[in-house]
Every structure is written in structure tokens, then in C-alpha cells.
């Protein structure tokens, strides 16, 4: 067991940190206040290979590993949760399912453009009546009379990157099948392009945090896509969705980890500058104990996140590890950012300092890509507790 980072990972961290501090941090407040998708940052990240970090070079990726990707989301999220989730959703929720389930033609068509950032990716599973309960899906896909095209109808909500994405992995009901004597919906996955006839992006959500991330509704009205856009086998959509979310959870866990660590960094800096009662507030034992606890929680989160990334890289089962990493990191980030605001006092409640933004950004990590309650269900099931 080796906890030390390789020389390559150390250099990657240095590069990500340098990039985040120089290019991302100066925009973070504006991106939040103006609900602005940082397109210029996405373009810069694309040039550096940050939009296809762990995919092979033959598909346009940078040929690194899952830990390298996790560290990118972590370092970006330290200064801007919005930028972190843009990379996470693009990589884990669009590139990954195409790489893991696509035909060679699909991989060759989509991955190089996605990895090079010419196209941005998104993932459409959630519907107004189907969040965690994927069986509640209402979107349908039927083959047309010629048998050459799928026709999709329905809508998706809360889709990250939607306003700027070119490629969407969409889930739809393709029939009803009987399983253990019960009739259940057969779900399949599809690749939908923004320019497909009958496809449109709807309302933009106004959110509490990660406000620069483009979260919108997707509408499919007799949306026609060629037959070969089916991703994976017909009827395997539910498995693809669940496997994709397992990977996605590592990305969101890394985002939560970064947000929490970013808040600890801000607290360490501020408490050594702020003077009250003739002392730097870092000299008070309460401050020191708080910071020690905050850092320890984030360090524990980092071990869980990196361990899950390592298991995914080694192709050993990691659903439970991803769930534990996301559960712990998200709750730690919420706790640590809340404490950060408290340590900043009145200033922490203002937009003059970044900790209130971090607190708002942290909350979503307990909700999306499976709530903390869902993570607990996954962990309990993994332990065989029924």
C-alpha cells in the first residue's frame, strides 16, 4: 500500500493548482454572481487535455488515469465549484458511458471531439417524476416504421452543462418487459446531439449554488435520431445509468473534497490576518481546534475519494466505495464550509469573501448524482443489510 503520489501525479497537481489559481479563481465570484458559464475557462482546459483526462490517446484523451481526473476536479473546486462540476459532468456522465458502452464507431465519432473540448457533454436521466426512482421514467423511444430511426418524446430536468452541451446521453423507455413475474419498464440509453430535429434545451434553473453551471431542461418532441445512436444494448439503459452514476459519484466526491479543502485554505489565511482582542484570531484555541477538525475531515475524505478512484482504475468493484466517498466528502464539505462562514464571522456572510459561496456550492454535493440518503442505501445494500 502506497499513499505517496507518483511523480506524474505530483506534477499534475502542481499544474492544476497553478491553472486554478491563475485562470479560475479570479473569475469565481463573477461566475457565481452573474450565473455565467465560464466558456473561456472551458476552452483553456480543453487545450491542456483536462476534458478527457483518463481516456486513451487513440480516442483523443490525455492517457492519464482516474486519480489524475479526480485531482483536476478537486483542484478546480477548491477555488470554483462551478468549474469543477463542468469537468465532472462532461467526463463522468458523457465521455465515460460512451467510452464504456459505445460501439467502435460511436467512440471514434464522439470521444475525440469530447476529449478535445470541441464538444461538451451532458447526461439526461432525471425527469420531473423520476429522480432516484429511475423506473418512473416517462420519456419514450420507439423505432419508426422504417426501422431506421428512433423517435424520442419526453423531457428531462436539472441537466448539468445543458445550455452549452453538444452531446447528451439520454435515457428513455423502449418497452415493457417481465422480470420475476412483474412488468417493468425497459430502459435504453441513446446518444442525442443538440442539432437533432425535435430536440431543444428549455428553461435555465436559478440555483442556490454552482450558479455558473448551466442547469436546464431538455425537451424532445418527436426527436428523430438514427438507429445507430442506441448506446449499449437495448434494454440495458438502467445498468448503464447506474454504472455511470457510480463513476460520476467519484467526480462529485472530488468536487465536494475540493470545496471543503478550499474553505479550509481560506480559513487558515483569514484567521491569521484578522485581529480581535489584540490577538490574531488564529491564536485562540477554539480557532485552532476548529481548523484541526476541518482539515482532518477533509483529509479523511481525500483518502476515501482517492481509494474509490484507484479501484475504478483497477477495474475492481467500486460502487460502495464511490458511495462512501461521496457521502462522506459531501457531508464533510457542507460541515466545513458552514464552520468556515462562522469563523469569518460577519464578513463570512458577505460576498466580500468566498466562504459563503463555498457553503452554497457544497450543499448540492449532498443532493445530485444520488442524495446522501441514496448513498446510504447503496452502502447498506453493499454490506448485505436487508
Amino acid at each position: 500500500m502506497d499513499f505517496a503520489l507518483s511523480k506524474e501525479h505530483q506534477l499534475l497537481r502542481q499544474m492544476y493548482r497553478d491553472f486554478a489559481e491563475t485562470e479560475v479563481k479570479p473569475l469565481a465570484q463573477e461566475v457565481d454572481e452573474e450565473e455565467r458559464f465560464p466558456a473561456e475557462t472551458v476552452e483553456k482546459m480543453a487545450k491542456l487535455g483536462m476534458l478527457g483526462i483518463y481516456f486513451p490517446k487513440e480516442y483523443g484523451g490525455a492517457g492519464a488515469d482516474v486519480l489524475s481526473y479526480v485531482m483536476a476536479v478537486e483542484e478546480l473546486s477548491k477555488v470554483c465549484g462551478t468549474t469543477g462540476v463542468i469537468v465532472s459532468a462532461h467526463t463522468s456522465l458523457c465521455c465515460a458511458p460512451i467510452f464504456e458502452n459505445g460501439t467502435e464507431e460511436q467512440k471514434k465519432k464522439y470521444l475525440p471531439k469530447l476529449c478535445k473540448g470541441e464538444w461538451i457533454g451532458a447526461f439526461g436521466l432525471t425527469e420531473p417524476g423520476a429522480g432516484t426512482d429511475a423506473q418512473g421514467q416517462q420519456t419514450t423511444a420507439v423505432l419508426d416504421e422504417s426501422g431506421e430511426n428512433w423517435i424520442l418524446n419526453g423531457s428531462k430536468i436539472f441537466i448539468t452543462n445543458a445550455g452549452f452541451a453538444n452531446v447528451f446521453v439520454i435515457f428513455a423507455v423502449t418497452g415493457v418487459v417481465e422480470k420475476r413475474g412483474r412488468k417493468i419498464k425497459e430502459i435504453s440509453a441513446f446518444i442525442v446531439e443538440r442539432t437533432d430535429k425535435g430536440f431543444s434545451v428549455g428553461k435555465h434553473e436559478k440555483k442556490m449554488g454552482i450558479r455558473g453551471s448551466s442547469t436546464c431542461e431538455l425537451i424532445m418532441e418527436d426527436c428523430v435520431i438514427p438507429k445507430d445512436r442506441l448506446l449499449g444494448k437495448q434494454g440495458k439503459g438502467f445498468n448503464i445509468a447506474m454504472a455511470t452514476l457510480d463513476g460520476g459519484r467519484i467526480g462529485i466526491a472530488a468536487q465536494a473534497l475540493g470545496i471543503g479543502e478550499g474553505a479550509v485554505n481560506e480559513v487558515i489565511k483569514y484567521t491569521q490576518e484578522r485581529v480581535q482582542f489584540g490577538k490574531r484570531i488564529s491564536q485562540f484555541q477554539n480557532t485552532q481546534f476548529q481548523i484541526a477538525d476541518m482539515h482532518t475531515r477533509m483529509q479523511a475524505a481525500q483518502f476515501l475519494v482517492y481509494s474509490a478512484a484507484d479501484k475504478k482504475q483497477k477495474h475492481v468493484p467500486y460502487s460502495m466505495d464511490a458511495a462512501m466517498a461521496k457521502l462522506f466528502a459531501a457531508e464533510a464539505a457542507s460541515d466545513v464550509t458552514r464552520r468556515a462562514v462562522q469563523l469569518f464571522g460577519g464578513y463570512g456572510y458577505t460576498r466580500e469573501y468566498p466562504v459563503e459561496r463555498m457553503m452554497r456550492d457544497a450543499k448540492i454535493t449532498e443532493i445530485y448524482e444520488g442524495t446522501s440518503e441514496v448513498q446510504r442505501m447503496v452502502i447498506a445494500a453493499g454490506l448485505g443489510v436487508k
Binding site: 511523480k7 506524474e8 506534477l11 487535455g49 490517446k57
Partner: protein, 266 residues
């Protein structure tokens, strides 16, 4: 066509500067960075590589840990690196250093279309001497303070920045150019560059590899052979915070006179 980019690992002076009792810099206790102007030189070389497909070689003289810096330059896009390292070279001043680097470049080969890039000066010594001296040793033309570079066949057309303007100079290759920070913004290392940087060639040239090079004079290298002797170095005492007087001429003159009178200077 090859481009040699001469780089130096320097103490990070944005952090704490540590000085030994004898007045020399305590380099071991300070973080190191790639000399900032050298990164501009590397970026200029990489832009020429992007445009022409030429080969870029990073060259540095320093102790073995300088390999880490050279790997980072490969991760930015350099094709290979040369580290000139040996106890015999330690303590070299600019005269000795430029001689050794010139010998190393000569050893690897300087062809008709090749260019040597250097940063204007290093932030530790601030001499700006090594680049021009390398050109002198190699007997090639040099242009310092380069702010713009265009390759035009076998010529290079550069803009040389002066305090009150600039000169446009056409220079034949092989030549040496020293670059200033206004030339460009250095690129970041890329993810794939980092993944490959430890598998690309890095040659270490030690004393044995270079001792027979005609450009090397064995009695003028290293600490003993260097003509420069440091008499004393020290951290200048901190000056107190100044006071800015604002307003029109009469008002500020009166305020100044009042301050001087209060201090019994006038």
C-alpha cells in the same frame, strides 16, 4: 532545425529569502522555480515548434535535482533535455557557466538553422551575462531583449526592446536570442505532456563528457576557475514606509516644508 533553450533553476524569491552566515544564498532551504524569463524563452521556442515542427531541447547546468525542472519543460512541450551536472562545474560564475553551456551545445551539435534561446536574466544573480557570453563562445550573432520573433527562411527577424522604442533586426542563423517577459505568456504543462515527460530523453553531460570539448578551458571552470569572487552579500535593511503628499504643487510643497520644519531639518 533545432532550438536550444537555456534554463536555470532559481530560488523562489517570492517566498522567504534565506542567507547563510557567510552571506551566500541558502539555496537548499528555499523552494526552487524555473527562472521566469527562461519560461518566456521556452514559450517562444514552442511557438516556433508549433509553426515549423522543429525540435526543442531544454539545456540546464545545475545539481541533479534540476532534472525535475527539465521534466516540467518537457511536459510543456520540449522534445528532450540536457542536464550539465558535475562537481567540477559547481560554483561557476557567468564566465565559466557560459563556457560550459556553449561547450555542451557544441557537443550535441549546432547546425546552420539552429537557434539558441535564453531568458534575459535570472532572478537570483540578475547579471544578464550568460546568454551573450554563450553567443560569444559559440561565435554566433546575438540579439538581446527580444520582444517578437519571426522566422523568415534562414533569417530570423526580431524586435529588440529598448527603453524608448524598439529596433527591428534581421539576423542569420545560427544565432542566440535573449527573451523578455513581454514576448509571450508561457503555456501550462499539459496533462498528456506530464504523462509522457518521464519517458522522453534526458541526457546528463558530466565533466568527463565535456572535458575534451575545445570550448572548455579546464582552468577557467568551477569555483576555482571563476574570475568572479563574491566579497560580501547581505539583505539590505528595510526602509520605513514613505508618505505620499497629494494635491497641487503649492499645497504639497507647503506640506513638505511643514514636515521638514517639524523634524527640524529646515
Amino acid at each position: 532545425m533545432k532550438i536550444y533553450v537555456c534554463v536555470k533553476q532559481v530560488p523562489d524569491t517570492s517566498g522567504k529569502v534565506a542567507v547563510n552566515e557567510d552571506g551566500t544564498l541558502n539555496r537548499a532551504s528555499m523552494d526552487t522555480i524555473t527562472n521566469p524569463d527562461d519560461l518566456n524563452a521556452m514559450e517562444a521556442a514552442l511557438q516556433l515548434k508549433d509553426a515549423t515542427g522543429c525540435k526543442v531541447i531544454a539545456v540546464s547546468m545545475g545539481p541533479p535535482p534540476a532534472e525535475g525542472m527539465l521534466r516540467q519543460l518537457i511536459a510543456m512541450g520540449a522534445d528532450e533535455a540536457i542536464l550539465i551536472s558535475g562537481r567540477e562545474f559547481g560554483g561557476s560564475d557567468t564566465f565559466a557557466t557560459s563556457q560550459i553551456i556553449a561547450a555542451a551545445i557544441n557537443h550535441v551539435g549546432l547546425d546552420e538553422e539552429d537557434i539558441v534561446f535564453c531568458g534575459r536574466q535570472a532572478i537570483d544573480g540578475d547579471t544578464a551575462q550568460v546568454g551573450p557570453q554563450i553567443a560569444d563562445k559559440l561565435e554566433i550573432p546575438q540579439v538581446t531583449y527580444v520582444a517578437d520573433i519571426k522566422k523568415d527562411g534562414k533569417d530570423v527577424v526580431v524586435k529588440r526592446m529598448l527603453e524608448d522604442g524598439y529596433m527591428t533586426i534581421k539576423v542569420k542563423t545560427p544565432c542566440l536570442l535573449t527573451c523578455i517577459k513581454e514576448l509571450n505568456t508561457p503555456r501550462y504543462m499539459s496533462v498528456s505532456g506530464i504523462m509522457e515527460c518521464y519517458s522522453k530523453p534526458l541526457t546528463i553531460l558530466d565533466f568527463d563528457a565535456l572535458k575534451d570539448e575545445p570550448l572548455i578551458e579546464l582552468d577557467t571552470i568551477g569555483l576555482k576557475g571563476s574570475p568572479t569572487n563574491i566579497y560580501k552579500s547581505f539583505t539590505p535593511p528595510q526602509k520605513g514606509v514613505g508618505v505620499m503628499l497629494e494635491g497641487d504643487g503649492k499645497e504639497t510643497a507647503e506640506a513638505l516644508a511643514a514636515t521638514l520644519a517639524a523634524k527640524h531639518i529646515i
